[in-house]
Amino acid sequence: MRYLPHTEEEIAAMLAVVGRNSLDELFCSIPDACRFAEEMVLPEALDEWQLTRHFDRLAGSMVVSHRHQVLIGAGRYHHHIPESIRALAGRSEFLTAYTPYQPEISQGTLQAMYEYQTLTARLLGMDVANASVYDGASALAEALLMGLRISRKKSKVAISAATHPHYRQVVRTYLNAAGYEVVELPVGADGRCDLGEAALDEMAAVAIQSPNFFGVIEELTTLGETIHAAGALFVVSFTEPLAYGLLKNPGECGADIACGEGQSLGLPRSFGGAALGMFACRDKFVRNMPGRLVGETVDNQGRRGFVLTLATREQHIRREKATSNICTNQGVCALMAAMFMASLGGTGLRRLARLNYDKAGYGRAVLRRAGARMVWETPTFNEFLVEFPSDFAPVRERLRAEGIVAGLELGRFYPEHAGRYLFCLTETVERATVDKIAEEVQR
């Protein structure tokens, strides 16, 4: 086996050094009752070429593939990823390194994470970002737990019902386990979160997703003012951070914590993972923050360098009193997002965000002309919710046969939106594709 370098002679020589007669004898401290009686039941080992063929077959069984235009967002977005990122992030110096506990020989990872933190903080308009957490959903759960830690006395949080449905599930998993209550805030008549009658003063934190699950851009500034007036922390979550290249960022709108999913910044959809939990907050809350942080310092000769810092918040020092149990970050994913942000630059990010906004605007206009109704006329970023005049399912079936996956039916997430479709149009979708959908609708 090519990953195992030992020859039989070397094994024999090494066994002699350790005073054992066989490899089995190395395990003499293990009681018989704990052992497998027979060999584990696993498929026969494949060599590299057999393995490649096996994956060719798996790939072939994907009815929808990269050759399709998939007009679904809902938490995972298709954007062009430059080849340079794949090449750079694949460098084994980054890929095969561990957590940078030895900073003298980990400055590559450390500087890259410091840059990621900085670009993330700038994108979100926040003071400080961590080196990432698992994904957008657990980031939101961690943000709400952080809000509860900061408030100390309260045991409730509120979350917009226009937050990604899976995020709300993850939030409930995390917060109910710890004995906290999660209140959902309704979606108003304009597709935006309605703070309405909620007893916000009982909440440690209130979380609003923008653009929300329906792509609708929330009026964060106004929401933030109301939430702060009630004495709660204002958490802004997101699934499509590209939007902040064009829209007011969470910090500008008064957010105390901003968190969400960074996949759209240079990571493939990859069936939902590996993901990237982005997490940022105001300076004054940094010691309550979960996750790893990289900070600037100097070495013993006064040269600039970077280290993991503020570890006294973390589980390996604080154990059960830690701010979170999180240990790893999403290293390579954060690295790729930083490379993507660096490749776009401020100018490119704005252009790309604008293009996404305009594509969705075009899609809305064309489908409207084809007789569809926009469920809300409120501005959206690159997604929008559509109601068709008649059953869209057969049209969608025809489109799929032609390589277009047209939108996501929302009935399973929101029964009130059964039969309505959430569309996502990014820069990867050409105008002709949108026109084709409108044509099929009118056929």
């Binding site: 030992h6 704990c34 497998f36 561990y98 020989i105 900085t118 999180i326 390579v332």
Partner: protein, 485 residues
Amino acid sequence: MSGTVEANGMIQEEPLLWEKGSRGRQGMSIPAADVPPVELPAELCGAGPDFPDLSEVDVVRHYTRLSAWNYGVDSGLYPLGSCTMKYNPKINERLAATPELAAAHPLLADSEVQGCLELMYGLQEGLAAITGLPGVSLQPAAGAQGELTGMLIFAAWHRSRGSRRNKILIPDTAHGTNPASAALCGFRPVPIASGPDGILTTEAVAAVMDDETVGIMITNPNTLGLFETNIREIAEVVHARGGLVYGDGANMNAVMGVVNPALCGVDVMHLNLHKTFSTPHGGGGPGAGPVCVTAELSRFLPVPRVVRAGNGYRLDEDCPDSVGRVHAFHGNFSVLVRAYGYVLSMGAAFLKRASQLAVLNAAYLKESLKESLPLAYPRPCMHECVFSDGWLHEHNITTLDLAKRLIDYGYHPPTIYFPLVVPGAIMIEPTETESQQDLDRFIAVLKQIVAEARNNPELLRQAPTRAKLGRLDETRAARQPCLCG
């Protein structure tokens, strides 16, 4: 000895991203607009972030230079104890980039993504075979999230039996994540001291296991690299008092194909795919921490899970007793792809052989170094061996000094000051992918450093001198945090 120095040569400087570039440069293609601009209400419009504008060449040089300041498994031996820094096969990177899989949207219909589901099902089955525990969730994104999922399952099981308990037993050799994960579920950790030989005794567990305790979290082999030989008796004590046994599988690389965790009495266990199953650590992630459970506990696993449906597969979300979701979608899928590639490449025989060789390598190191460094526990070790700082004190040398000196010889240091129960611990885990020659060279270097500690201790105190930077001021970083440029 200078002949063995592996670190040498040119180190290029590189500024921070925003210290370079020029407004208007572009580092990637953006498609031309083929649609008209749409009006955006002014009150929603922002200014856009203050990012530097860089060319593609700027970005490529930047990250290539940064990468040169790193040390990875591909650079050399990476003997970090408890981290299992084994070789990360190249083919698995390509498999994870398979276009059909990498482009798969997680909300497509089951019938449209059979390849993804078959892969996940295959990995679930593989991990079930390896642990003897038939219920598997691939959703947890890392070991710590696997632990949390396990604790959620403990809580759900007790709740389903109407039992209200809030204590959890955690030995002093546990990872720090164990108590932190348990605390997230409202459990209060009760520490148990390991016995004088580094092994947990059945009596110590029996003395604290009571009707208010949900169970025990136990790492086996433990963080001293020793097999918990009393595991079955301990599990019996815990089960008899109505508790469950959690197996932290961080050290599974020692015992694949040898130990059947289910036979040890383990009810719930997580595996670290980024350790045992060879997926790259990536400077901190992404990892994956699947959870394996007994048939009885399967109904509590996170949703959705992949199940068989006719000739194909589907995602099953209909599970009312489930603890819920812990990830927005299916966990770190691209990590699962790599681990699946690894399991298929190894098969049952080579997985077992990998564990045997991991243990052989650790035993060989221990045997070769025990005259040079004081052993923490004179017992047969599994996949890692732990030394203490013992005589280093006499020369006013710390474990840290010794670790830093290894850098000057071109090696990544071992894990140090962990586990906490060993003073000045030096914890070495070579893994099975190191050859005897590679180990011999490392042993020779360590012996050389031990000699230096006696004869020229200043070399250790000043180390490293051949890395990009000397020792960094961590106190300053924490006292005056500068986390954002």
